[in-house]
């Protein structure tokens, strides 16, 4: 794994504060969070970047007892989002988020919705995406920072 820049870790104070593409994640903190693990511990391939993560009812019930990144991740996942969005918004390295979300899933705090392997060749899905994209107007209004 390469070494990132030395941007301060600001996510703990304001995970939603970043209005612009966020800076580089901390170089050292990820290793502390994951105890040096870079994959989910098992032999399964890493979850795809678009994999949807959502907090479970149990996760939200125990939210008050979770700390730091575990708390931030479960809290952010009240609203389903991809592992990539989670990493960007919490300013954590993608692979760190993969490890942490797997831990939280094992603990029953998160559900991980891994996309099906055959989706990319699914004709009905492709047609739906094409129809949906065709409906995008020639110009858009102001971008939302979040929905």
């Amino acid at each position: 794994m390469g070494v990132g820049g030395a941007a301060p870790h600001e996510a703990a104070e304001d995970p939603w504060g970043a209005r612009e593409p966020v800076g580089r994640a901390s170089a050292i903190r990820p290793f502390l969070l994951t105890a040096g693990r870079v994959t989910g511990g098992g032999t399964a391939p890493p979850i795809p970047v678009e994999t949807q993560i959502v907090a479970t009812e149990d996760g939200l019930l125990v939210l008050g007892s979770l700390t730091f990144e575990h708390h931030e991740i479960v809290a952010a996942c009240r609203r389903p989002q991809s592992v990539a969005e989670l990493a960007a918004r919490l300013r954590l390295h993608l692979n760190v988020v993969r490890v942490l979300t797997e831990d939280l899933r094992a603990a029953g705090h998160l559900a991980i919705h891994r996309p099906n392997a055959g989706t990319a060749q699914d004709i009905s899905v492709l047609r739906r995406v094409i129809d949906g994209l065709r409906a995008v107007p020639d110009s858009r209004g102001t971008l939302r920072d979040r929905d």
Partner: protein
């Protein structure tokens, strides 16, 4: 985009307990090309959220004509990756990932590209070299893709035949001109990629 509630997901629970919402089916397109070619601009032109950045690991394969062993050295590098999304409907969400390009290296985005519907390779005709690796990658992986020349300032320096020849892009690969700053233009470029993906999927299903 018009938000049409689906029969299955449109009703929000108003009961006392906090029910976790059902996530959409996520699909993705990959937008590739050299540095400064307009990837992030293209994502931002059509994404419904301001593009986000995350750090991802890519494997670089050191390329070189003097490598006689055919076992290129691999190194993993952390790179910034920009992305955005478009909600197709409450059950389907399209992500657009801008993959980082690296000069003088082949690179493998398997981690990012796995499961992608297709790819769009953005080309700046002033720096054609920057997009060879992306074209090669999609060809090699068999991922549906199109090549889009970004018309900086509305101008393209070369005609498309010259670009196709210079990049050695196969005839069956669509080559278009677009403007990364315009929503409609990016939309149409992505539709070209999706039509390639659809015809390939239909051909695979044909008896």
């Amino acid at each position: 985009m018009v938000f049409v509630p689906s029969p299955t997901h449109g009703e929000h629970s108003v009961t006392g307990t906090e029910q976790p919402p059902q996530p959409p089916l996520p699909v993705k397109l990959v937008i590739a090309g050299g540095f400064g070619v307009g990837k992030t601009t293209a994502v931002g032109s059509i994404s419904e959220i301001r593009p986000l950045t995350t750090e991802a690991a890519i494997t670089e394969v050191a390329a070189g004509v003097d490598d006689l062993t055919h076992t290129p050295g691999k190194t993993t590098t952390t790179v910034a990756m920009d992305f955005g999304c478009i909600t197709i409907d409450p059950t389907l969400k399209l992500y657009l990932f801008g993959t980082p390009g690296q000069d003088r290296f082949g690179f493998m985005w398997d981690d990012l590209v796995e499961g992608a519907l297709g790819g769009l390779v953005i080309v700046d005709t002033r720096r054609l070299d920057d997009c060879y690796a992306a074209v090669d990658y999609f060809e090699h992986k068999g991922i549906p893709f199109a090549v889009a020349v970004n018309a900086f300032d509305g101008e393209v320096q070369h005609n498309l035949d010259e670009v196709r020849w210079a990049l050695d892009v196969a005839e069956h690969v669509p080559l278009i001109v677009f403007d990364a700053r315009r929503t409609g233009s990016v939309r149409d470029a992505l539709l070209v990629v999706l039509e390639v993906a659809l015809s390939r999927a239909e051909a695979a299903e044909a008896p």
